[in-house]
Structure formats: structure tokens, C-alpha cells
Symmetry: D2
Subunit: 377 residues, 4 copies
């Protein structure tokens, strides 16, 4: 492959979108990709002005059009970023994957488990690079946590506590036209779940990502606190793990005063770890008979995988955007490797993680619908 | 009543006991009571040397003996402190209550729900002051939390998260003769539960104490992680509250690296609060659209009830012993009031809280035994 | 000596006094001493009612009278606690010391350096136990810090930062009759310094106590921010240490929003430590190439001297009163040892620490008066 | 001006440089500028490979050459970023300023006060936009702090404590060829100061930026702890402010275990604030008689200037790179405004801040050299 930045396109992310901007920054921050094309909105006029805001070379009114045309261009895009609501993941992925264009897609993977599984087959068939932005796995200290858990430093895992608490849906802002809230609480766009699908899956993914242990069954109590909302805005979920461990996952969008409070605690027989997304540069490690430790981002003691995801010296806080970028960093490296016929590292959340997440959501909804009873994954 | 300190006796608390010393300090720290008599151990020799360690005027080999004789003395004890294992609460309470001697008893109230209810009747019949040392309610900022929740400052309570995590039973230390561990894990002395009975009840009590809302039903998953232990050492419990709120309570004695990590978070429609027993002089208050606040012990903004439980200026940390003492402070004030025919304030955990706690434990065990299914309290 | 509690008397501490109550609790919390006599106020009526509040057996209108009479009693006091304003330390110490009665005295030791040195000679001559309540040295983790610094675990000490920040004198409350403020800001009662004498000395003492290194010279900039106040309410002080290390001590009584924020950081070539009085159960240890550690009170890793000063398991916070009590614990043990002709441990702040503190205050005032120039101690 | 991204060039920042990468990311993160040209190293070969690493269109072997040629190009750069060692600021600024090319330069502004003042004149004469990357002013909550201090919410400022502690120069790594350490400790490249010039100035700038109050005089004790190092690696500095306030600034590069611990505390008569660079999304506000508050980045209560510098919802941590980018964001906006003949906002550190910083360094060195005596700025 010639020496150049990769060329990226984006679907979704028009004016007013939060996550589109995040994808744009994350894809380009390391200077290994440039954004050249987009279908930024289903509203053609909005697509146009949004593309101009971002100085895109090529703007499309439809993603189908974009997929086909970009494929034909000599300087067409190498990969597409998908930042649309949930119901628009599957068709967009399909359109680009069928052209052999690599994909980085927002989570959850799809609208239904069935769609997710079809995507799985398609990705495999097309042999494209596919990354799902379970972005919290991009934090260096989450990598460190994974290394500790999987290398046995924690001993056997007995207990896991995962929390993801927000308050942005505490009142019915979807009725006031807030864009995010409107589609997140709309079953036609979000699917069968609001809170678990949006943030609970991040917790599930983080738990399995770090420990390498699968959730065996759930007992999920989903609640809609805001009157008239068709999907749940809160969930408390008991977990049983495949290794015999027990756990708990709570997620909420009505937890007054909470911002984006994702936290995971893992208790092993030898040591325990605790990590808070809002203070992501600390990893707390507790021992039975040694002082508690606080490992810090980019301090020399971390594992190699954690250190390679850091950009600046310890004490210069790296945050959400940098972690999100780390998903892109590894995906872009794999696209380059593929083009150069080199082996892939595949060190980013995959389509299989996406299918797993969809099943988790489906089983939680099923458990809750039946009265919060134990349900196997 | 003449101007004098109250006279206290103690049952339990012999050499090597942790909680006996706590009761002694708590009862006398405010200088309104003195410890004069005790039946400190069921082992007469140990009772004797322990009483000497504490410079007690009168030492008894049996609590029955003590109850009867103290009753007859002109300078007999005004109240008894009970710091024995769970199975020895009921008989001791009965012995002293029947003599009309006031009682301050460690929790849980009794060995079974039936015993607990009998104690309830006895206390009522005998018209004695009875305080149960759910000591965490003695922290000034827990009072402040109660004031906030009950006065409506939090709005409607939607979600509650209670945790009580320890690690002292992570390995089978009961087999090495550790005194505490031996009886806590022994069904003959501790009852049907180890972890929920010992610390889970503190969480339940704190939740109902602060919010004034009762737990309606539980779905409890109890686990014994340490092989061969006959009682559970960990529990994850889903909660449904009487007001429609939801919650979660987790307690553990095998959470490696945790010391005495009791924490409660209460999410209301107007505001939320968070309190950690290990940093008890901070009460975190979160709002939807105002900065987070940290209220501090004995800083002037607290409610009157919180302020009257403080001894020293803000910034001079008060801890566990002072909070424990606050239970005694209010109980002693009531004993004095009773002697003076004045109205009682009854501002300490009561026999009814004790019965409630026993039911909570029983229902959690029942739920878990049936496979972790929903069970009404 | 017979098996009994020691008998204590107190001078000062009448109604409304803060530190008198602290001394009472601290002296008796461990159950090795009882308070039997007092001269609680220079106002005889107030002395009487205060003594009754505390159920004292014997109340005196004058401390001279108390010293003489207690000496003659068969059950007279073993030691006296002095909780009077600064100008009343020297005469009270002298009165009791001359009777051979042991002394636990509040800091600063005296009103002037000269007085302090006389006390030093008197204590030596009378061979009494003398403890100065530089109470912050009583925290277990301060002992741990001392052990780390003195055993070489920190390497060579290069830099020290000590802060003691309060806000209680931010406005002229002495004009509104606040008792503490009135004498603290009155040169006739407090001496030549308010802020440095009251709290700066605690910082100086802590620094030398932990490191074992003496302050060689100071450059002190003292300020009176509240108009009309005759003594300083804030100070910034550069330090040069005898070992070539450098440092800084700041103390303030006008630092809005600060409660009792005493904090010390010590930077060595091998490791550094940080301790905050308001969260006294954490000792932070930082390394060049290992994760930061947080040592916790009564967790097994601490040194023996730290562990013996703990009463309750890790995670049950011990605070200011318990630390204050630890000074008494060791002083009482020494008084008992002396009575039993056993060797003394002398593990509490001494008259020499007191003299050192008086010199520090004097030199800071001298430095500042001359324009904040370097002044040797 | 046509609708396009601004074109940027960079001097310095070749392979192995830390701050060059930071400038690149910061300049382009908001998608309003692209990096097209550079003179990345004084070593032509290294310049060439470094430019290729970054996919630059044009690489130059000398900055003089770059300045002249870019000026002549139809698509020449709009502004230059300067990321060279201190001695190479002045000549580079001059080269580009004389071509009328806008400048964003790393701090300190120059090698000497004289150079700095010349730059001041040149910038004024050439009417270019000039921004100095005192990047810590780019944090949203630093803006909020400024708003609070300057709008009178803190009342009169009485006391200021500024700290900037690092440990990267704890041992003589300059002797092992560490690039940064080599020039920072070399008077020929760094100037008269290492620690104060590198990080002390950030503290000075932050203090004056937030409060709007100038430092009147300093008493600075500079120390070289690492043997053989020609410049200081630690400093303790007493401050007197123009408004009568007092303060203290400490900076260190040998504070074992510290990463990039920049912290500022400002005590006013009405309220106080505290901000830590390592947890930059919290601004602590303390009041005399209201609970402490913690303001959070991008939570709605902040001032408009703070909110416009946030990219992502509260709880998604923004860090060092985003703050650094905010300097560029405002500078780029001004360059665009200038091209469009619109008024400039000038909301970034200026050449005057740079001159001020140079004077501060010079006066600290002068004070210390004379024995740490008071020296007016």
C-alpha cells in the first residue's frame, strides 16, 4: 500500500449529533486517517450543510448511494464509520460490507439478535475488518485490568459489580424534542430496550472483556420510572457467571446527579480491582495483606498493551476521546495490515462481541418481562 | 433521680472480643455512664480476669445470676449491654428485661424471628428502654441523610444501592480458631445466615432508617464461596420498595481487599445522596442542575439532629466509636428521662427495627433457598 | 502499684471549652484512668457547675489549692491534665510539678521560650512524666510515616510541604465574644503569635517528629488579614532543613472553607509520603517506578508501633479523639511503669518538643518582623 | 475568506519529541486546521522522515527557508506552530512574524526578557495573531475559576497556593541522553532556569490568569538537588500580590512519585476554589457557611466561556489534549476573524503573558541568587 492516510467516510453524525463528532475526532486524532466523504443525515439538506461544516470532499444524500459510488472511485474510502440510531446499523453495515468496505460501527451491533447474527456471517464472508465501538475497552487501564485478570493476578474471580449510572433521562425530555432522547426511547429506532441496550451492554461487554468469563444467566428487573415512556430507563440485574462467580449489574438513566458513572469492581481470590470511567487514569488494586495500590495511566509499571495506547506522559490526563480513538487506532492498523497482507492483531471489539451484547439485552428483557426470573444466555 | 452517672453492666466482651470493647467505650465516652458489673464470659475464669482487666466492681460467672443480684443491689446497674453471639441475645435480654433492667443489645436482635417477636412483647410489657446497636445510624451525616430524605429534599425515591463489603472471611479462618469467625460461620451460634445476618441487616436497616420506606420484596442470591462453610459468605439481593422504588443490596465477607465498606446511595427525583462509612464525615449530594455538594460533619449547615451528635469542630474526624456512642447517648438520655418521668425521645434503633431485620434475613434465606426467587417481606 | 485506674485531675475545661472535653475523653477512653478532681475555671461558680456536669468528686476554685491538697490525699490524683490558655500553662505546670504530680499539658508548652526552658529544667529535676499533647502524632499512620522515614524507606529527604489551614478566624469573631477566639487573638493570653503558635507549631512538630530532621532556618511572612487583630492569622514560611532539604510550611486561620486541614508531604529519593489529618486512615506512598500505595489504619502491613495504637479493625474509622487518646495511652503507661520502677518508653511528645516549638514560633515572629528574612533556629 | 480549514506548519516536533505531537493533535482536533508543512528537525534527514511520518505535503530543512517559501505559495500556511527548545523560540517567531504569518508558540516565550520584549514589539507591529500555549488555561474549569474570581464571587483574594510537582528529573537522566532532560537542564538551550522556567511559569500564569491580580514581589529559594546539574530542579517561592494578598508557589522536578501535579488554591473572603490538573473535571468551591461544592466540566451550571470549550457531555472526561486544543480553537477563530475583518476575541495567552512569565523567571533567579531575598517584579 502506498504511504498515505486511510480515507474514511461516515454515515450519520449530522449537526446536533453527539456521537458523530466523537467518531470524527477518534478516527483522525492519531493522524492515520482522514475523513473525506459522508452521508450525514437522512435529510438531504441537513446532510449537505453538515458535510460543509466538516469540510468533506464528498457528501451523499443516501448511504446506499455512497457505498456504491465510493467503491468505484480511485480515491474512494477505505472504511466507513457508522454513527446512526440502532435501527440503521444493519442496513448500513450491509451496504458497505457488500462492497468490501471496512466498517467501524457504533454499538449495539443491530436492532435484533437475528440481524446481529446475519451481520456476523456477512463480515466473515466478506473478510472485512469490523470494529464495534465498545469504546470503554480503549482505556489503557482497562487493558491493564484485562491483563491482570487474565494472567491470573487476581486469582479465581468470585464477585463482580458493574454500574453504569446516568441521569439524562430523569424527566421526559423526549417530549421536548431532544434528539438523542427521542430515538433512544422509541422502540421503532432503539429496539426492545433503552437503558440496557444503550449502557447496560457497555457494562456486560466490559465485564466479559476484562475477565474473559462469560455471563451464564441473568435475573433482570427493568423499570420505567418516567411515566409514558415505552422503554425501560433503569435496570437491576443479578448475574451468574460461567466459572461459578456471582455478580450484579445496575444501569440507569434516571439516577439524579450521575453523569456517566461507569464503574467495575472485580473481586478475585488473590486481589481485586476497581476502575471508574470518570477518573479513568486510576486503577485501584486491593490485596488481602498488602497496601492498596493505585496504578496510573502511562506510569511505567503497566503492561505493554496498556502502554502502547497512551500518548502523553503520566499525569497529563487522557480521557474519553483518546480511549475512543484507541479503538480506531487498532482497527486502522488492521486495515493497513490487511492491505499489506500482514497478520491482523484484532485487538478491538468484534462482531462477536456485538452478537453477545444483543443476546444479553434480549435475555434481560425476557427475564424482566417474565417477572424478573433467572434466564440463561 | 439523683445527680449521678448511670451504672452499666455488660454480658459478653471477654478478652479477645472486639465488640465488647466497642460497647464499653461507646457507653462511657460521653461520661454519662460508668461500667460497674459484668458477666464477661461463659468461662468463669476468663470472666474473672476480663473483669479485672476492666476494673469492674462486680464480676459474675453467669448472666442469670447477674440479672437477679444486680436487681437487688442499692447501687445495682441501671442498664445492661449485651455483646454476646446471636444465640445468646434472647436469653440474656429476657433475664434482664424481666428484672426491669434497661437493655442495649447488639444486633441482630435474636436467633429467630419468633424469638425476636417475643422480645418485642417483653420489652413492651416491661416498659423498659431497649436500644439495638444498629450503630451506623449514629453517624451525624446519616441523621442528616434521614432528614433530607424524609423532609422531601430528595423528592420521590426511585432507586437505592446499598453495599457492605468486607474480606475477613475470604479464607477459612474459622478452622484456625479465629474467635469471631468461629461463631459467625456456625449455624448453632449465628443462626440461619452469616453474611446477611451480620452485615446485610445493617444495610437493610440503614436503607429503611434513612428513607422511611419499607422493603416490599427481595430476590436474594446467597453464595458460600469458601468450601465447607455451612453458611453463606456473600449475597446479591434485588429489592422492591413499598413506594414503587427499586434497589439493590450486596454484602460480602469475601470481597478481597475490602475492609468495612458500607455505602448507601439514594436516588430521588429532586436530588440524590451518597454516604460511605469509611469516610463518614462526607455526605455527597447530587442535583440535576446544580453543582454536587459535599456536606461535612459538624459544619453549620446540617440539621439540628445531626449537629447535636457531634462533639468536636468540623475537620476533626469523628469515627466509628463516636457513632456507636451516639446510640448510647440517646438511650442513656431516655433512661434518665424515664427515671425522671419525662417523655422519651426514642431516637435510636428499636426492638421493632430488630424484628424487621430478623424478617429480612429470614426472607433472604428463603428466597435464595428456593433458587433466588421473589419473596415478600 | 495496686491494680486500679490512675486518678486524673484537670485544670481548665469549664463549660463551653472545646479542648477540655477532648482531654477528658482522651484520658479515659482506654479505661486506664478516671477523672476525679478539677479546677475547671478561674470563675469559682463556673468551676463548680462544670465539675458537677462532669460528676467530679472534688472541685477546686484554684489550681494552686488543688495541687497542694491533692498531693496530701490518700487517693489524690496521679496526674494532672492542663487545658488552659497559653499564659496559664507555666504556672499550672509548676504548681503540680513541684508536688511531684505528673503532667499532661496542652501545647504550646508555655508563653515564652524562657518559661519553656524553665519547665524543661523543672520536669527533669522532679523526674515526673511530662507529655505535651501534640496530638496529631497519636495517629497510627503518623507513626507509620515516622517508621518509614526514619528506617530509610524514603531515602534522603529532599523536600517537605506542610499545611495547616483553617477558616474559623476569617472574620473578627473575637469581637462577638467567641471564647476561643478571644484569647487566641489576645497577646496577653496567647503570647506573641496566634496562628503560628496555635497550629503552625503542630506542623513544625509533625515534620520533625516524622523525619527526625531539624529545621535549620526559616523565612516567615506573617500576615494579619482581619483588621484590628493584634496577632497574625496567616503565615507562609520557607524552611531549610539541617540535612540540606528544603521545605515550606503554610498555616492559616482565614482560609475560607477549610476546617482543620493539616497535611504533610515528604519527598525522599526513594519514596514519598502524604498524609491528611481529615482523612487520617490513609497514608499515601508514592514511588518512582511502582504504583502508588495507600496504607490503611490497622491493616496488617503497618509497623508494630502503629498497630498497637489501633483499637478496632481496619475500615472502622478512628479519628481525632482516638489519636488524642493515644498520647494519653502512652503517658499513662509510663506513669504506671514509673510507679512500678520499670523502664519508661517515653513515646509521646516531650518537654523538649515543647521547647523546640516555642523557639520555632519565636523565630518565625522574629523573621517576619524583620521583613521576612532568613533566621536561624 | 473561502470556506476551508486553515493551513498550519510546524517548527520542531521531530521523532521522539513529546510536545510536537501534542501541538499537532491540538491544532487539528477540532477539524478547523490541517497540518501541511514543517521543519521538524534541525537534522535534515530526521526532518524528512518525521515529515513523512506525519504525511506532510511539504518538508523543509530550515525554518528560515520554510518561512520565506510558505509566504510565496498560493496555498501557503496560515499559521506556524513552534515546538522547539527555548533558545529557538525567538529566531523562529521572528522569521515567521516578519512574513506576516500567524504564530502559536510554546512557552516560555523566549530565552531572555529582552528577546521577549522584542517579540512583543514585533507582534504588535506585524499585527499578527500570536498565542502562547499556556495550555492549562484551556481547561473549561480554569475558565470557570477565572469567571468566579473576576466576577467577585470569591470576594477579596487573601491567599493563594500554587503547586506544580513532577519527578521526572529526580535522577540525572540527562546524562543518559534523554532528549527532553538534555536540553531542559542545559543553560545554553533552556536559559537561566530549568524548573521555574519549565513549570513554575505555568503556575505564575495560572495564578494571574484566574485572579487578574499581579504578583508584586517574590522571595525564591531555588535548589539543585541532583548533583552536577547546572540549573535548579526545585523551587519554593513566597509571593506578595499587588492587592495585599499573600501566596506561595512551589515547583519541583524531583518530587518522587509526582507526575504532573499542578494545583491551585485561591482563598477569598467569600469563597475559595481548588483545582487539580490531574483531575481537571472537578472544581472544588468552599464556602464559610454552605456545603462545599464540586463543579464538573460541562455540567450546565458553568459560565458560558467554560461551556463553549467543552466537546462532550459531562462525565465523559476531557483531558490535557482537549485543553491544549482549546488554545488553538480560540487562536484559529481569531485568525479567521482577522481574515474576515471581524473583531478578535483574543481569548488565549498572549505575548504579554509571555513577557510577564519571562520576568517572573528572571526575578526568581535573581532573588535566589542573592540568598532568597524579596525582589520586586
Amino acid at each position: 500500500m502506498e504511504h498515505r492516510k486511510l480515507r474514511a467516510g461516515i454515515v450519520g453524525g449530522g449537526r446536533g449529533a453527539f456521537i458523530g463528532t466523537v467518531h470524527r475526532i477518534a478516527a483522525t486524532l492519531d493522524n492515520e486517517a482522514e475523513l473525506v466523504a459522508g452521508a450525514l443525515s437522512s435529510d438531504p439538506e441537513k446532510a449537505e450543510v453538515s458535510a460543509k461544516d466538516w469540510y468533506l470532499k464528498r457528501s451523499y444524500a443516501s448511504f446506499e448511494d455512497m457505498a456504491k459510488k465510493e467503491k468505484m472511485l480511485p480515491d474512494g474510502i477505505d472504511f466507513v464509520m457508522i454513527a446512526t440510531p440502532n435501527h440503521m446499523h444493519y442496513p448500513v453495515i450491509r451496504a458497505f460490507a457488500e462492497q468490501g468496505i471496512h466498517v467501524v460501527c457504533d454499538k449495539p451491533l443491530a436492532f435484533t439478535v437475528e440481524e446481529a447474527e446475519e451481520i456476523g456471517k456477512l463480515v466473515e464472508k466478506k473478510k472485512i475488518v469490523f470494529a464495534l465501538t465498545h469504546n470503554y475497552t480503549g482505556y489503557p487501564l482497562v487493558r491493564e485490568a484485562r491483563d491482570m485478570a487474565r494472567s491470573g493476578k487476581l486469582g479465581g474471580i468470585r464477585k463482580v459489580i458493574v454500574e453504569y449510572l446516568q441521569d439524562w433521562l430523569s424527566s421526559p425530555i423526549e417530549k421536548e424534542g431532544q434528539k438523542q432522547a427521542s430515538w433512544r426511547t422509541d422502540p421503532a429506532k432503539a429496539g426492545i430496550s433503552c437503558c440496557v441496550g444503550d449502557i447496560g451492554t457497555h457494562g456486560e461487554n466490559l465485564l466479559e472483556y476484562i475477565t474473559g468469563i462469560k455471563i451464564k444467566s441473568v435475573c433482570a428487573d427493568l423499570t420505567t420510572f418516567v411515566l409514558g415512556r415505552p422503554l425501560e430507563d433503569d435496570a437491576n440485574i443479578l448475574l451468574r457467571l460461567e466459572n461459578g462467580g456471582k455478580g450484579f449489574l445496575t444501569c440507569s438513566q434516571i439516577a439524579t446527579g450521575e453523569e456517566n458513572n461507569l464503574c467495575i469492581r472485580i473481586y478475585g481470590t488473590k486481589a481485586s480491582i476497581e476502575w471508574h470511567q470518570q477518573e479513568p487514569n486510576n486503577l485501584i488494586i486491593k490485596y488481602p495483606s498488602a497496601p492498596m495500590q493505585v496504578m496510573r495511566t502511562n506510569r511505567s509499571q503497566a503492561c505493554k498493551e496498556a502502554l502502547t495506547l497512551c500518548r502523553i506522559p503520566a499525569g497529563h490526563p487522557e480521557g474519553y476521546l483518546e480511549a475512543f480513538c484507541n479503538i480506531y487506532r487498532n482497527a486502522i492498523a488492521d486495515i493497513k495490515a490487511l492491505k499489506a497482507n500482514k497478520p491482523l492483531a484484532r485487538d478491538y471489539p468484534s462482531v462477536h462481541d456485538g452478537i453477545r451484547g444483543m443476546k444479553f439485552v434480549a435475555k434481560c428483557v425476557e427475564s424482566s418481562t417474565k417477572g424478573a426470573i433467572w434466564t440463561d444466555l
